[in-house]
Amino acid sequence: MTASIRDGLRLAARHPRLVCLLWAWYGLLALVPALPAWRWWNGVLGPSPEAASVLARFDLGVFLDLVSTQGVNGLGLLAGAAMAVAAIAFVSSAFAFGGILEVFGSEGEPRTFMHRFFRGGGHFFWRYLRLALIAGVCLLLATGAVSALLTGATAPLRDSEWEPGGYLLGVANFAVLLAVAALFLLALDYARIRVSRDDDRSMLKAYASGLGFVLRRLLSTYGIAIPFVGALAVLAILYLAYETNTPAAGNWGAIALLFLVQQAVVIGRVFLRVGLVGAERHFHLEALPTPVQVAVREIIAPESPAPDVPVPSEVEQIPT
């Protein structure tokens, strides 16, 4: 476990361009709903002396007046744009993971980083999208079923006169749901790694295999993920501490500093996620060693087929 975590972090650290590319892509997507917001807010807040209070702190009164100025549609449009972009981000995750795993798997290849990333992203895109959809459906069904079970099982406790019981029950239910959701998300990660390694075509089989992999090594797979999630939590707490305890962004320097801190946090998040994928990949390869390091083969047409040598298929079947 420790070796995998170490390897994952090392992999992420060895690929700063990968981290930066992912940060830039998702940052670019985020700009789609951010730029209209800037136009709207700058148009309303910019000329208003009342808006000066925003520089000292978040002013609820100004926010409510802003909504009242432009109507709720302004917020509705921004929320709509944010949701559309979030959907694009979800779809593009299939491409991103193809790229990440391809870059990891093709270290030492002379091809450029960008070539390898886009090659992997393109090659696995549809398969990873199918995997993500399968995982999403499984996750929804499983968490729904577990939630229903928990609701039924804890109904007598909910009316308990011991008030903290209700909160603790809520936290416990949430933790169980989180653990179940994590199971399906970890299975998705390991299924992707398997597909990347074996170039599988059956995504149902791959996802089932991912689930099996996680269930057979529950402690290790969760044990690898938890430190990364913990580091994310620390990052979030540090940011909140910065936001709440530093002087408000009253001048351009402070605003620029806030922006830089925010971007450092986002880059940190991406780094940790890439590191987790690296750690999971290391663990998967260690647990299921394979004789051949598989990366996507480029199809090279032979100059003249040798009758006595079979033409290699594009897909190489590797036993697991």
């Binding site: 910019g46 808006a51 000066a52 409510l64 007046d65 593009s92 009253g250 605003i255 925010q262």
Partner: protein
Amino acid sequence: MRRVLSISLLAFLAAAATAAQSLPERSDRVVDYRISVALDPVKHVLTGRQTLTWRNPSTTDAVSELQFHLYLNAFKNTKSTFVQESGGQLRGAEMATDGWGWIDITSIATSAGADLTPTLAFIQPDDGNKDDQTVARVTLPEPVPPGGSVTLEMAFTSKLPQVFARTGYKDDFHLAGQWFPKLGVYEPAGMRGRETGGWNCHQFHANSEFYADFGTYAVDITVPSDYIVGATGERKRERANGNGTTTYTFEQADVHDFAWTADPDYVVVKATFSATQDVSPAEYERTAKLLGRTLDEVQLSDVDITVLLQPDHRPQAQRHIDAAKAGLKYYGLRYGRYPYKTLTVVDPAPGAGGAGGMEYPTFITAGSAWLFNFWPFDRIRLVEEVTVHEFGHQFWYGMVASNEFEEAWLDEGFNTWSTSKAMVEAYGADATIMEFLGFRMSDRDMSRASNDRAGRYNRILAKSWEYTPPGAYGFYSYYKPALALATLEGYLGEQTMARLMRTYHERWRFKHPRSEDFFALVNEVTGQDWSWYFDQVIRGTDIVDYDIGSASTRAVRTSQGVFDAAAGRRTVSSSDADEKDLEIERAKKQIFESVVVVRRSGGVKLPVEVAFKFEGRPVERQTWDGRDTTRRFRFERPEKLEWVDVDPDRTIALDVNWLNNGRRLTPDSRPAASWTARWLFMLQNVITTLGLL
């Protein structure tokens, strides 16, 4: 500015001239209740007997019938007016389908022994809903003459509902509100503008609280001995009955209702509000100066505070006590000494939130949660806000006692405004409600949050069940009146407003005033006719919104063309003018023409100040009466206009939008940049999470 100044000055002088009122020592004591009640904690049934004496307050009318509130019948079935109007839910709590409540008068007779039970009949004075049994009348064998009285012996059984709307039970927790047959108010001709005398006894509505007459109460409450009891008034006696029950006797005069609670789980926390230790000499002096009163007139008295707390909320005991003391101090200093010796604060049981946030005489319910024991949730000042607010009702609902059915704003609105001021005094201006992870929210934010352009379909002065939709009651009885009073204060100034409110409270303590009485007092105290304000804001439906139509500043160019002068006709060509302009610019002697168009986008016409800031000059203010829809201001100055702002002190709290009040001629992009950075960060986090799921 001149007009606003003159308003303030006149108001101040008139206020200073207003004779100091003295606080009435006692109410008219129209009713006297002697009640014995026993709680069956398993069936949640109260069995009671009451001896009720009613004095006819009229000097002219003989009264031949009595009208009673039987408000627990609101929870009797789904056909009651209350359930029809509320849909079985109130303030987020839902009515349980198996927790019905009702009240039966099992017998009623005069002290002479005449049985009145057969004359008992339900009436529906508000909506004619024949299924509603929340008001009943009995016919007396002979009319009560003016100034005469009648005594009735009554027996009743009350089944408490499972609590969702102020009163009821949840497991062992019992909150008995509106639990006994309570007389309505007989209003003689002339009272509250009535032309003829008659009963004012409304049905129980979803959006309404109460109205009853002042009197004296002595109540024996019998409960299992392990139950802890709190109630209106002072506990006078406690008697163990030897059968596992104990009887507690509570008494209180000069109140118009009686509520009590019983729960074996309460943790009892006691404290004393000390008029000498909890209020400093400097605070007394400051208040006396502000109100123009002597130190004796603003002197408070000690009050015993009892907090009945849920065991899991023990760490919040001090917060409840501090909030109660903050209320006793602020309201007592500003409006007059709290005249009772006790205050009981009830923290309802978990799951009984519907009983929280309610006021009864000397007895209030707050509401909290276990989570508020801990950081950062302890920075949400719900306990403080609710405790101060419900305590504040003692001064409006409790002592001034307006008719909440017909003019809810005189209680809820006055109290929302007062709460806001008390909270600012105790906890600071920006974060009276919440200071949570850098997010702050004040009472003013809360009131302004609901004040938008949609708020133009009802008027403040309306019967509480007639607002459309019914949910509008909250805005028109709490928040808009609070904003209207804050705006009035903006015109009058803090001192005049403080004196006005003090005088209003003193003059009308224990007397059931109506809106007209308040309006008349404002005119009297200020020496001006404010009907233009109240007609628009309290009786009218429109909104207040001022904004800037346009603002520009540019250099005045040299005029071109043919000009007649004493020396003869002179022609200034375009190039001559340009040359002259260049010369002026080089000499830095330019004159700038600044033109601003201020608009009144709302229908309410209020005078406003407009502030103008020219480069390197102090802020200049002018006044606009706001009668037309626009006003154009034009200046020729050596300085450029930097910004213009309507109502720069934000005294018109009723304005639905303050963001459009001003205009900078050079926009400042920092506020938008600051928000956009945060919005972008939020988006990036969401998108990165989904994109790397």
